[in-house]
Symmetry: C2
Subunit: 182 residues, 2 copies
């Protein structure tokens, strides 16, 4: 297998492992195991653990953008909004690793920032902004709509992280299409 293909597998494995264990709580060993490769070899593919996390985080943002893009294809305004909300709901249910990776990424960015590591944050802000721009465009360049949509998304991530079960009162203020299946 080519190094490039391995890197791809590694990123995927990293998303899963980091999502479940967090940055510090995940060993490079566990990622290597999931890839099916020796732990030291990961360090041939990525210069260090942080670079691997960054790649996983960026992948996660790109995937989310992809979900929105596919859901909103050919739609606009209110229709696009509901389609994206519904798609994100399914996405979160089908691949819980993805939104958990998001949460781990927000937490890790804050830590990196405290450590004086600016590049980490910059890369992730850029990725997040691309998502923002996508949504903004789809929602007719309406800033308020964009903000509200993303706000609901973040609250959903939070409630899901905390493990509030589907059907709990805290979900009752969501569009039906944005609630977990009840």
């Amino acid at each position: 297998m080519s190094a490039e293909e391995r890197r791809e597998s590694a990123v995927r494995a990293a998303v899963t492992e980091f999502a479940r264990g967090g940055y510090k709580g995940t060993s490079t060993e566990s990622i290597a195991r999931r890839v099916g490769v020796s732990q030291p070899y990961l360090f041939r593919l990525f210069p260090n653990k942080q670079a691997l996390f960054l790649a996983a985080a960026e992948r996660c943002l790109e995937d989310t953008r992809g979900v929105f893009a596919r859901a909103s294809e050919g739609l606009e305004g209110e229709e696009a909004l509901h389609a994206m909300a519904a798609a994100y709901q399914r996405y979160v249910i089908d691949e819980p690793d993805m939104f958990q990776m998001q949460m781990q990424m927000y937490a890790a960015t804050a830590v990196a920032e405290v450590d004086g590591d600016t590049e980490f944050g910059e890369r992730l802000r850029a990725g997040w902004l691309r998502m923002w721009e996508d949504v903004h465009l789809v929602l007719g360049a309406d800033v308020d709509e964009t903000t509200t949509f993303l706000a609901y998304g973040m609250l959903a991530n939070t409630l899901a992280s905390l493990g509030f079960p589907a059907g709990h009162r805290v979900w009752s203020g969501f569009y039906l299409s944005a609630r977990p299946v009840s």
Copy 2:
């Protein structure tokens, strides 16, 4: 100093340290240093590291509730909403440790849940729900208003975690009173 007083200091120190380093990324040593006490003594005050984190997380939620309660005193509806938004803004600026602790808590809860640790999540859901109920009551028991208010709060936490500076476009869809100072 009495054990109870020390415990109080420890919780405060834990909020700061965990907020900046995350759960796994923070050593009990660093917390002990901040308290001004030896590392092993922390284990007299708390059974283990997780219990200390839990206490810090619960404190953080209680503090946030307090901010909302004080801001909305004597107000209701729209007025209360804006007062709370403004107060939360100041709070996040004055004490960034607090919202960062929130993010660390969401990330850590997801990890605990994966590890099959149910009690951790239960305690934090209970704390979060108390906050939800408070806001709900103040906003005239309007579920949609409550959800929207908290959604904006969560988006604000996220953007702040990512380090988007005041004045950035991503903040432009917020109530003026909920934006970081520009």
